[in-house]
């Protein structure tokens, strides 16, 4: 039976689970909310700090609560503005007069006089966007628990009637201004001026009270405000709007919305961005990710939200930025992975490659550095055997430095310190953990000992001096931290100067409000400074950040200002020329000269233009905090020209060697065995070589190579399928820290030698072996027309040309400085040619003038045979590895004794023609007794010199 009774009771319990609270609900009146409107600048202890700010417990949180919870640290000028909005007088707390709603100006003054900026208030506005429509939740930053100032802070008193004032003084704990103040209204200036209702809003998983707007169009760009009107309920101004203010909502275009590129990366192009990895570029994953996140922040998973305006063109923005990112790496999709930065080109073909160099990131600025490398070689060359050619290659490196501002100085929030006290009192020992006698007495007085919660709360405050309003706490569900401080909040105050006051009644003061505490316990004050990241001097901190950003930018620019003309930056170049006739002995040798060879290439690097090659800088950007002008990017260019090394030409053979970069008295010839250039010792440059320009001289022995005869034009041309025999390569050009550029230019030259019988048979100038002696001709001589020494504008060889002037191929005189042989008796080829042609064949007319004839003799067949025989007996006089047919057996006289310049050399080859001297080895070459064919001595200064006007041998 007993069991059944129990079950019935339980059944009833579950059927009416709330009945247990029914009585409680009846007995517990809603906790009051104090609504104070006017603000005093000053107050005395008897009027300040004695009024308790309370809250309704029935969830009907009114809009005036918002007015009381504007924000921490309200400044004096703002207080004045608020006071004006609420029609307060400066002198006291009374309304000066009742505002008249019929007075348009008066109402406007009320409504527009003060606007809360959500960024500076405790109002928290949450936007939820969907397809261009917004739902807007408005709550306060304390999760719907509006934080009110107590009397010790800003005594927002409402004393518009004597009755009210008296009530406050009489019993501040039970003072209920709701009896005097009507519920306020909150009205939007959009959405048809909708009057909002307090509703439940879910915030961080909790249900709090707030206001909600729905379906607000994202196209609405007007400034949105919530107008809060406050109406007086009683007194002289009953029913009249006595105050109003606005809460300015953030503009929709600045509202953060969910970033769809994070939730759907593929759709918005972030999939490609995330997987992008430049081919052949050495960049760490960390650096690459930083670069991606900074340049395409829309794809950064940390950026869960974006501005609403960004969302509209989000995909195209990402794609555009992705192209920019790829451009940093040179768009190298088709590049060879193994050698991404190498360029190959042919002859004068121009090619360009761009590559990413590095990404530098600092707090405020980031910089990307990329380089563009352009190469272009010279055109193919056609030369006659023995002629030289120049081959010039041109390079340029353009460096792009793009600076991006990745963060801006931020003005930190003003620090405020909230002070409070915690009251302690004796108790808690022994076995009694309950209220003391005073408490029980208070409750007995309050409700006759029923211990209703209202009386418990009230007596707790009275006896222990601390407000622990459980109805409030239950209602809003404080966090642990808030619970800890809730006890002391009643005595909190806020300052913007970081110092607690010592006198009650003003902002910044703290004091113990509980007489019980003063009498029975003691206070420990506490202080909390916030908000996070705050500063006591926001302006100074902001200025400091601006200076830091300034300095950082300058530093960044300096770091990126590299010397692009330095040898490290220009790289290493080499020339390789394949010449069939370039031999050392019987060994073939490919001419190679590079930075490892003593002869130096003609490498010259010059900035393109302007200071340090800055050829372009973008329009100035102006930071939002400074008028200082910056270059967000700089394009700087250096031009590099690479030429062959300086050469020297053998005076006798015409073959070229190369001059030392250290001492041009030394020359270098090929060493095929070691595949390098060897310095030629024991031979003075001045004795045997002529200095020339940066040319490569072909061998006079060269056969026809890479050439063909054009029947139609009747000229020799380079073949279309020529073999590449010029190769100019470059390595390590560009930023030395990153991966550098390399290049390879392939081109060719053709050699034409008509004295070889393998020339084109269609070429009429080709050597005809049936008529001529073809092949093997090393030293060219021929009878010339003394009236026209070089007919048909034929180009004289090196020894007839000093410089090419005015595009003519005729020779120019060597100056005395340029003459390396007869320094004091220079030869002027042009004048010599002119003299010869002026005299023409008359020069042989000894009957009229024999002064120009040195000797007169007849070469017989025997003479010629003897000379040929002699020539075959001599070889390699200059030790270059090949027969020279000349012994260079001259006698030299050094006129100034220093072996440099002024040296005159003569051959005594013909000296014994008349048999006067029998000591010469060639004394039998020419016979003098054959039927009067002996030599007739005329001027007899042959071999002395060719100085113009010379009449006798001067040695």
């Amino acid at each position: 039976m007993k069991k059944y009774i129990t079950r019935i009771l339980l059944f009833c319990f579950f059927l009416f689970p709330f009945s247990i609270y029914a009585e409680n609900d009846e007995t517990e009146a809603p906790t009051d909310i104090v609504k104070n409107y006017c603000i005093k600048d000053n107050c005395s202890n008897d009027t300040c700090g004695t009024y308790e700010i309370k809250y309704k417990s029935d969830s009907s949180l009114s809009l005036t609560d918002i007015a009381n919870s504007i924000r921490n640290g309200t400044l004096s000028n703002e207080i004045t503005a608020i006071r004006t909005a609420f029609k307060c007088t400066n002198e006291g707390e009374n309304f000066t007069s009742c505002p008249s709603e019929s007075d348009e100006e008066d109402v406007q003054s009320i409504v527009s006089s003060y606007t809360l900026d959500t960024e500076q208030s405790n109002i928290n506005v949450v936007f939820k966007e969907s397809n261009g429509k917004f739902d807007i939740d408005i709550v306060d930053v304390y999760s719907g628990k509006f934080i009110f100032y107590n009397a010790g802070t800003y005594p927002l008193k409402s004393v518009d009637s004597k009755d009210m004032t008296d009530k406050i003084k009489e019993d501040p704990e039970t003072y209920n201004p709701a009896e005097y103040i009507d519920t306020s209204k909150i009205i939007t200036n959009f959405n048809d001026d909708k009057i909002l209702e307090l509703v439940d809003i879910t915030k961080n998983g909790k249900t709090v009270k707030g206001y909600k707007l729905t379906d607000v169009s994202g196209d609405d760009t007007q400034e949105m405000k919530l107008k809060i009107e406050v109406y007086q309920k009683s007194g002289d101004c009953a029913g009249i709007m006595v105050g109003a203010f606005s809460i300015k909502l953030p503009a929709l275009d600045t509202v953060d919305v969910a970033n769809p590129a994070i939730s759907n990366p593929t759709e918005y192009g972030c999939g490609d961005v995330n997987s992008f990895k430049p081919k052949g570029i050495k960049i760490s994953d960390t650096a690459l990710n930083d670069l991606k996140n900074d340049l395409i922040g829309e794809c950064d998973s940390k950026n869960r939200t974006i501005k609403y305006t960004q969302k509209v063109n989000l995909k195209s923005t990402i794609l555009e930025k992705f192209e920019n990112l790829k451009a940093l790496f040179g768009n190298n999709d088709d590049n060879d992975d193994s050698n991404n930065n190498k360029i190959n080109s042919k002859c004068n073909e121009e090619k360009t490659k761009t590559r990413f160099v590095k990404y530098i990131k600092k707090k405020y600025w980031a910089a990307t550095v990329s380089e563009e490398y352009t190469i272009k070689g010279d055109q193919a060359k056609l030369v006659k055997a023995g002629d030289g050619f120049e081959y010039e290659t041109n390079y340029s490196i353009t460096r792009y430095v793009t600076i991006v501002q990745i963060s801006k100085p931020v003005r930190p929030p003003q620090c405020v310190t909230t002070y409070g006290h915690i009251c302690y009192w004796p108790g808690g020992s022994g076995s009694d953990g309950g209220p003391n006698e005073d408490f029980d007495s208070c409750v007995l007085k309050c409700d006759g000992g029923k211990y209703t919660q209202n009386c418990i709360n009230s007596c707790y405050l009275n006896v222990y001096g601390v407000n622990r309003d459980l109805s409030f706490i239950d209602k809003f569900s404080y966090s642990n931290q808030e619970k800890d401080s809730s006890v002391s909040r009643t005595a909190s105050c806020v300052t913007d100067h970081g110092n607690a006051g010592t006198v009650a009644g003003n902002p910044g003061d703290y004091y113990c409000v509980s007489s019980y505490c003063s009498a029975n316990g003691w206070c420990n004050e506490w202080a909390i400074t916030g908000p996070s990241g705050c500063s006591w001097s926001p302006g100074a901190e902001y200025d400091r950040q601006v200076d830091t950003a300034d300095t950082q930018l300058d530093t960044l620019l300096r770091e990126l200002n590299v010397d692009m003309t330095s040898s490290d930056y220009i790289g290493d170049y080499s020339y390789k020329i394949t010449d069939t006739y370039l031999k050392y002995g019987d060994e073939m040798y490919d001419f190679v000269v590079d930075s490892s060879n003593p002869p130096i290439l003609g490498v010259e690097a010059k900035y393109a233009s302007g200071d340090n090659g800055v050829i372009e800088s973008a329009a100035a950007i102006k930071t939002s905090y400074s008028t200082k002008t910056y270059h967000p990017y700089i394009k700087r260019k250096v031009n590099i020209t690479v030429n062959l090394p300086l050469s020297a030409v053998n005076k006798v053979t015409g073959q070229s060697v190369y001059r030392s970069k250290d001492d041009d008295n030394f020359v270098f010839s090929v060493n095929a065995n070691e595949n390098k250039l060897d310095r030629i010792d024991n031979i003075s440059l001045l004795d045997y070589y002529a200095k020339t320009d940066r040319k490569y001289y072909t061998s006079v022995w060269s056969k026809n190579y890479n050439v063909k005869y054009d029947d139609q034009l009747g000229v020799i041309k380079l073949t279309d399928d020529a073999e590449f025999n010029i190769n100019v390569s470059n390595t390590s050009a560009g930023e030395e820290e990153g991966q550098t550029f390399s290049s390879n230019i392939q081109c060719y030259y053709g050699v034409y030698n008509k004295f070889y019988n393998d020339c084109d048979p269609d070429d009429p100038t080709c050597c005809d072996p049936s008529v001529d002696i073809c092949g093997g001709i090393q030293y060219i001589y021929r009878p010339i027309d003394l009236d026209d020494v070089f007919p048909n504008d034929r180009s004289p060889r090196w020894n007839w040309t000093g410089k090419i002037t005015n595009g003519k191929s005729t020779g120019a005189a060597l100056t005395s400085e340029e003459s390396f042989y007869n320094n004091n008796q220079t030869v002027n080829p042009e004048q010599l040619i002119s003299d010869i042609q002026e005299k023409g064949y008359e020069i042989y007319d000894v009957s009229s003038d024999s002064r120009e004839v040195d000797y007169e003799f007849v070469l017989t067949t025997e003479n010629i045979r003897n000379i040929r025989k002699y020539n075959k007996s001599v070889s390699d006089y200059n030790k270059d590895g090949s027969n020279n047919y000349l012994d260079y057996n001259m006698s030299c006289y050094d006129s100034n004794g220093d072996a440099i310049g002024g040296e005159v050399c003569t051959s005594r080859f013909l000296d014994n023609i008349d048999g006067n001297s029998g000591t010469e080895e060639n004394n039998s070459f020419i016979t003098y007794s054959v039927n009067g064919y002996g030599i007739t001595e005329r001027k007899s200064i042959a071999g002395c010199n060719n100085a113009i006007g010379g009449t006798e041998c001067d040695y």
Binding site: F13, E23, G430, G434, G449, N457, L470, S477
Partner: protein
């Protein structure tokens, strides 16, 4: 002779009957025993529960300083009680502590098999105590156990002491006058008597076996549940979970004490 033979036959049958009865009795006993074992096993299969108590060994140690020190740390299932138990002999802690705490009865001596922990309740003393953890301090949340809906789901206490976290299961909840024994040393017979009194005064019947071999824990606080005249102590008794004992949700039923509570104060 014949009578003697008949007598022997009767004796034989009697012996057979006796043996048969012994056999049947054994069988009945065995069946009964098996049934008990079966029921016991059924109980063993009761709903297992997982507790969310935290390890507080380090907190206990860290809490000691020269002014006051903790001798343990108390956590009560379903409440916000998760704070230190201080040595009541400390003369300073009472006035310098700004956080929730409890203290141990000064009558306790080391090694005793029962401890009494006491804590404040000042604001949650009404006859309709807050069924909440929000805003409550010290032992104020203990009053939630005055509600059956709460008590039947919250059965365990963790008392951290001497470097280990020990679980206790509740076997009694009741209201007492100040004359309630504050736990001086209890002899074995006194312990049994005490356990009986707890069960007798408890407003719920806990399906928990308790005996004088158990380690006992009592936590109590103050109330004005019945006004300022009687039963101003609200007491929860628990025993330490035995070795190999499973953590299950054992049965809790309201009893006549609770019914009186409802009848007297119109509660349900």
């Amino acid at each position: 002779m014949k009578k003697r033979k008949i007598k022997l036959i009767v004796i034989f049958f009697l012996l057979v009957i006796i043996v048969l009865m012994l056999f049947l009795g054994f069988k009945i006993f065995k069946i009964s025993n098996d049934e008990n074992e079966s029921n016991y096993k059924k109980d063993e299969k009761s709903e297992k529960i997982e507790l969310s108590f935290s390890d507080r060994v380090s907190e206990v140690n860290a809490f000691s300083d020269e002014r006051f020190f903790s001798i343990g740390w108390l956590q009560v299932q379903g409440t916000n009680i998760d704070f230190p138990i201080l040595n009541s002999n400390s003369s300073k802690y009472e006035t310098e502590i700004d956080y929730s705490y409890g203290w141990r009865s000064p009558n306790y001596n080391n090694g005793e098999n029962r401890e009494v922990l006491i804590g404040h309740n000042i604001i949650n003393v009404s006859s309709t105590p807050m069924l909440s953890t929000e805003g409550l301090e010290n032992f104020e949340a203990l009053m939630s156990f005055s509600y059956y809906s709460f008590a039947k789901d919250n059965l365990y206490i963790q008392y951290t002491k001497d470097g280990q976290n020990d679980l206790y299961l509740i076997y009694g909840v009741g209201f007492y006058d100040y004359s309630y024994d504050n736990a001086e040393t209890l002899e074995d017979d006194e312990i049994n008597e005490y356990i009986s009194s707890v069960k007798k005064n408890s407003i719920y019947d806990y399906d928990v076996d308790v005996n004088n071999n158990d380690i006992l824990l009592t936590i109590k606080t103050c109330t004005r549940y019945f006004g300022n005249n009687e039963k101003q102590q609200f007491v929860i008794d628990a025993r330490k979970v035995r070795e190999e004992e499973e953590i299950i949700k054992y049965s809790v039923e309201i009893n006549s004490n609770f019914e009186k509570l409802i009848n007297n104060y119109e509660k349900s």
